[in-house]
Amino acid sequence: MMQSIVSPKTSASIFSELANVIKTWPIWFLMGNQDIKLRYKRSIIGPFWISLTLAAWIAGISILYSQILKQPFLDYLVFLSCGLLAWNLISAVIGEGSVSVIDNAGHLRSAPIPISIFAARVIYRNIVVFLHNILVVVCVLIYAKVKLTLALLFLPVGLAMTCMILFFVISVTGPLCARFRDLQQIISNMMQVSFFLTPIIWQPGQMGGRTLITGANPFYHLIELIRAPLMGHLPAKQTLVAASLMLLGSLVVALIVWQYSRKRIIFWL
């Protein structure tokens, strides 16, 4: 039997939200599975449409841009597909994360569930999508005869780090987008611009000596956590430091937002 005390004075411990997310895993796991099932419900190849979409993107951009940017085709193909794989994960999570609370207002109004269930649902769902996408990238790597190195072992670590950072980020943006409805538009604009500002279709080396645009770009580091091990090397030290700082920073902000929004979220829906 559980005992709950709900009052403004006895605030729950700051990590209770994290504990709740783990405790409520059957809910977000089930929701995520339903999301995937529904998205491709009446199509013949089902969730493999995810893979196919990425393949089409990679084919289209790599053929055109390797010419425009005068890059060797195979090298460019590998760089682009690893980058797009990571970017798809990041942009989908941030885009879907910003509406995760608004879209689930009905649930929050009728059942005593923690807000971060919906952030976890978005992350889980997009990991499933990522696993479909990585099949395409594996094909590309085989086609381009990229050698397997020990750096590949870093991939799960990099993916986990990226997902944790993204989880904390959307735990912040989800409730805030419910409170400030303009924020969602701002985020969606920002993501579109970021796609072109981040080295995904162009390589960081092409910027000459100007490293600020990559070094100060959080998306660059998030992508590198996944792209570098796939391309056979470990992420740069700078990226690891930046990612650790981002993890810590986003965790702190998420804890603050959880604490602040737990009692107020019901007003914002």
Binding site: M1, M2, Q3, S4, I5, V6, S7, P8, K9, T10, P26, I27, L30, M31, Q34, K37, L38, K41, G106, H107, L108, R109, S110, A111, P112, I113, R179, R181, R262, K263, I266, F267, W268
Partner: protein, 397 residues
């Protein structure tokens, strides 16, 4: 042992996105709704609940009655742990099953069977309970093969069955119900109310908000009347609901001449109350409990001048059920102004006017009335018409 302890709980919420005061005033004016005041900054605060204290222990069945916007649902959400009090405390122990919105967690694109798990999980069900529900829900809903079709192909009644069956598959210590007892289509209602009754019996504490006084009287042993975010009376369900109904009547009459919006609202509640009592009355009548039927009918006729009650009184005197048979007394009840178009009333008027025991007998008018009733679909009128015709022929020959 489950308990709920609400101490001096208040709940105020800010209104966002309100562009102009006038719009807000329009929405929140009048008696429906909590008190409001301007909060810090430019946002406006609505005091949905004001200093509520309640102490519920195992065995308590609390009903909440009151206007729309009196704070019933807010109080339920507070007790369910969905909302948190602004000041004061809400303590509870035990598993809470809050049945606040129908169709929670049900996705129309998924099949009925696929939809069983999520609503239960949202209330914290264990895997064993979900498996149990996979057995009981198909049995209870009787949806058969439909259970493997997407819910969007269901009729409203089937949807209601499904969501009702799922949400009631869970056992909780504290059951919170918001306007739930009227759920389901006609054929389902009896089954549903039986199930709910067992659910209520098995739960330690039940809190139930409703507009329907009879439901509250049947299911609760305590009734709280809420107005403007405060509990203004708690006590025996019968006493409180009668006081509430009396207030609604006064209010309805005042509202008709006063502000139109309030009148409408009150009229709705009053009509719901009348409908409810009429239902009880007819149930008693068909269950051959004529004394109770008469009691309700007389009360409704005297206090509300309700047409259905008038008709029922007519039948009570016409058939001599629950009162001595008296045609002269029955007739005026069938002539109630709101019954002039009612075929059954016309039929009964015809019967009385054709009856040889009735001193004011008028066969021509009776024949007319019976023919009208006949045309309006009362087949029973054919037989007395024929009898009159036969008598006329017999007299002529």
């Amino acid at each position: 042992m489950p308990f709920i302890n609400v101490q001096n709980a208040s709940f105020s919420y800010p209104i966002y996105n309100a562009k102009s005061r006038s719009l807000k005033n329009a929405v929140f004016a009048g008696r429906a709704g909590g008190r409001r005041e301007t909060g810090p900054g430019s946002t406006e605060l609505v005091h949905a609940l004001n200093n509520i204290s309640l102490n519920l222990k195992s065995g308590d069945r609390l009903g909440l009655i009151g206007h729309n916007g009196a704070g019933k649902s807010t109080l339920l959400r507070l007790m369910a742990g969905i909302a948190h009090p602004t000041t004061g405390t809400v303590e509870f122990e035990g598993r809470v099953v809050p049945l606040i919105s129908r169709g929670l967690g049900i996705n129309p694109e998924l099949t009925g069977r696929q939809n069983i798990e999520l609503p239960l999980r949202l209330f914290g069900a264990s895997t064993a309970e979900v498996q149990e529900a996979h057995k009981t829900v198909p049995e209870f809903t009787e949806l058969g093969e439909f259970l493997d079709l997407p819910v969007r192909t269901y009729s409203d009644g089937m949807r209601a069955r499904l969501s009702f069956a799922i949400c009631t598959a869970l056992r909780g210590d504290i059951l919170i119900l918001d306007e739930w007892l009227g759920a389901g289509d006609a054929g389902f209602v009896r089954k549903a109310s039986n199930r709910l009754k067992t659910m209520v019996e098995q739960s330690g504490i039940v809190i139930l908000a409703s507009h329907t006084t009879s439901i509250l009287q049947q299911n609760c042993n305590k009734l709280a009347w809420m107005r403007k975010g405060e509990i203004i009376a708690v006590g025996d369900p019968k006493d409180v609901s009668e006081a509430y109904a009396a207030e609604m009547r006064r209010y309805g009459q005042a509202g008709a001449s006063g502000k139109p919006n309030e009148g409408e609202e009150a009229a709705k509640i009053r009509q719901a109350y009348i409908d409810d009592q009429v239902r009880l009355m007819d149930e008693a009548w068909f269950a051959k409990d004529y004394a109770s039927a008469r009691k309700i009918a007389e009360m409704l006729y005297a206090k509300e001048n309700a047409a259905r009650a008038s008709y029922r009184l007519g039948t009570i005197y016409y058939y001599g059920r629950g009162a001595e048979k008296n045609l002269a007394q029955a007739l005026p009840y069938f002539r109630h102004t709101s019954l002039t178009d009612d075929p059954w009333s016309i039929y009964h008027q015809g019967l009385i006017l054709a009856d040889r025991n009735y001193p004011g007998r008028d066969e021509d008018v009776a024949r007319n009335l019976l023919e009208i009733a006949m045309m309006r679909g009362i087949r029973d009128a054919a037989q007395p018409l024929k009898a009159m015709e036969d008598r006329k022929l017999a007299v002529a020959s």
